[in-house]
């Protein structure tokens, strides 16, 4: 099992306690054994809809996460380590401590290394670092590309990776990662809630993934560009929730491909990030009517983000992100009307760094659209018994510490 329930106390509270009692000198950050951690707490309030499974329309502080890791650099080639992660963001995570990554890393050469165990999956600019809010300007990453509610479905894999860096002379260098493995099943995630809201219950699933990431550190100072692809398969079992008798069904997503094209450019205090994500999936459904025979989805997204470091204390930024939903095979069931089949988010942020280890962010989101019940992305029917409004304005305040 990859999750641990700490008896008598939610995992988040335990993490808070751990972070509070860990003395700074215990960080051991100069030796071969290193101990690090982070913890964040947020508050979100919105005008209409409830976002990301949180009760944001009433204002909520149920937006907590944190992680602790221990790493041992055994020698200059071999490293082992593990990290636990816990989140309680609305109904996401629900305070269970999970094994985030745990790996053995052996670097044969600079151009060839190997990792085995549970490894964070590289996909686009931020997939493997999306929990590390201290590393980016925003309180929430652009949800069109990095949906918080789908984190567990492609954040890590259990298997093996090859990686390395290849010099290109005066043209900079290319870092690569290739991977294959299974995807951990998590039943406290928007992926499951989306399937349930589409009319199923008692759902179980498992999956596999392969993929690669290539990122080119160009000779132009501050410019990095890359491409990633992941190819996944998933199998599901569940029951039709609305049927008076038990109707069991099986499904297999036999094709799910995500392609990310991305770039980062840093020039002095300015930073520009942009990413386009194509995501297409095809699913075959086995079971008696009224279960449909097949389903296919095309869900592209993109964002462009600009930030400016005003001083050591202050950073400001804004981004625009867009997500689109298109049902490929059964267009007759696609929702219509204002707000359907897209989520466009314009966001402005101010970030304060009182110390190198502590930040505070205040962020405004101006969201048009709610996506589709067939591909829930932030907005779920179960949290909107009166229906989902087409627009959402939301304020997020988030603070984090890291050591």
């Amino acid at each position: 099992m990859s999750t641990i329930r700490i008896a008598g106390a939610p995992g988040v509270a335990t993490l808070m306690l751990l972070l509070a009692v860990v003395p700074a000198r215990a960080q051991m950050n100069e030796g071969p054994v290193q101990f690090h951690g982070f913890f964040t707490q947020g508050y979100a309030i919105s005008d209409h809809n409830n976002y990301l499974t949180m009760n944001t329309s009433q204002g909520t502080a149920q937006m907590t996460d944190g992680g602790l890791n221990l790493t041992w650099q055994v020698n200059d080639k071999l490293r082992v380590g593990a990290q636990v992660y816990d989140r309680y963001i609305g109904d996401l995570g629900k305070g269970r401590v999970s094994l985030d990554w745990a790996l053995v890393d052996y670097r044969f050469r600079d151009w060839l290394g190997f990792r085995a165990g549970r490894v964070k999956t590289p996909l686009g600019l931020f997939n493997d670092s999306q929990d590390q809010e201290f590393s980016y300007t925003w309180a929430l990453l652009p949800q069109a590309v990095y949906p918080l509610d789908l984190r567990e479905t492609y954040n890590a894999h259990t298997g093996g990776d090859l990686y390395g860096a290849i010099p290109l002379g005066r043209k900079g260098y290319v870092s690569y990662q290739m991977y294959a493995g299974t995807v951990p099943s998590d039943y406290r995630t928007g992926f499951l809630y989306g399937i349930e809201d589409a009319g199923f219950r008692n759902v179980t699933y498992s999956g596999r993934t392969t993929g690669y990431d290539l990122r080119w550190t160009t000779p132009v100072s501050g410019l990095m560009a890359g491409v990633s692809q992941s190819f996944s398969e998933r199998e599901y079992e569940g029951e039709l929730a609305a049927a008076p008798i038990i109707i069991k069904g099986k499904a297999k997503t036999y094709f799910s491909r995500q392609t990310a094209l991305y770039a980062e450019f840093v020039h002095g205090p300015w930073r520009l990030d942009a990413e386009y994500r194509a995501w297409k999936s095809l699913t075959r459904i086995l079971g008696p009517p009224p279960l449909p025979g097949r389903s296919g989805q095309n869900t592209p997204g993109w964002f462009a983000a600009l930030s400016y470091r005003v001083s050591k204390l202050v950073e400001i930024g804004a981004y625009r992100s867009q997500y689109k939903f298109q049902e490929l095979l059964d267009p007759v069931v696609t929702q219509t009307g204002p707000g359907a089949n897209h989520v466009d988010d314009t966001t402005v942020t101010i970030r304060l760094d009182p110390t190198p280890y502590w930040n505070i962010k205040v962020e405004g989101h101006f969201i048009d659209g709610f996506g589709s019940v067939l591909s829930a992305r932030g907005f779920y029917p179960r949290y909107h018994p009166q229906g989902i409004q087409p627009n959402t304005n939301m304020l997020v305040v988030r603070t984090g510490i890291v050591f």
């Binding site: 950050n29 992680g67 260098y173 550190t217 100072s221 501050g222 450019f265």
Partner: protein, 138 residues
């Protein structure tokens, strides 16, 4: 349009090391005295992408703060101080690497580099460079 964008990147991305006086010197252990280090090598060494140059092990050493640190990071790594710190933290929290050795003072940096084969770092121009060699990355 593409040419215009490329030209803009090249102008903006020209290394400031080539256009303004540096407030630091790049130094190394004497065992790297004959090693030629390019700008691309500098980036790869300090961002953890390589551990050997010309077959010799290299180990980056960084300062924790200061003007020399700020300018070095901007010139050779194309990052801000906080951007570099976040880069190292990302390695740590994704399990994909460790941050380099860091020191608070020039004396500590020079002492460590002088006593560690393959160590490479940077200090302010007025530092006493006894025990280390000066490198001139191209």
């Amino acid at each position: 349009m593409l040419r215009l964008a490329l030209a803009m990147f090249l102008v903006l991305g020209t290394s400031p090391a080539q256009t303004r006086a540096a407030s630091y010197v790049v130094i190394a252990n004497p065992n790297l005295a004959d090693t030629e280090v390019s700008g691309s090598d500098m980036r790869r060494i300090f961002l953890g992408a390589v551990t050997r140059i010309d077959g010799k092990p290299v180990q980056p050493v960084v300062a924790r703060s200061g003007d020399a640190h700020k300018q070095f990071v901007a010139d050779w790594l194309g990052k801000t101080e906080s951007g570099l710190q976040n880069y190292f933290r990302t390695l740590v929290f994704t399990g994909k690497g460790s941050p380099p050795k860091s020191f608070a003072t020039t004396v500590e940096i020079i002492d460590y580099i002088a006593s560690t084969e393959g160590a490479i770092g940077y200090v302010s121009l007025d530092a006493n460079l006894t025990g280390v060699v000066r490198l001139e990355p191209k």
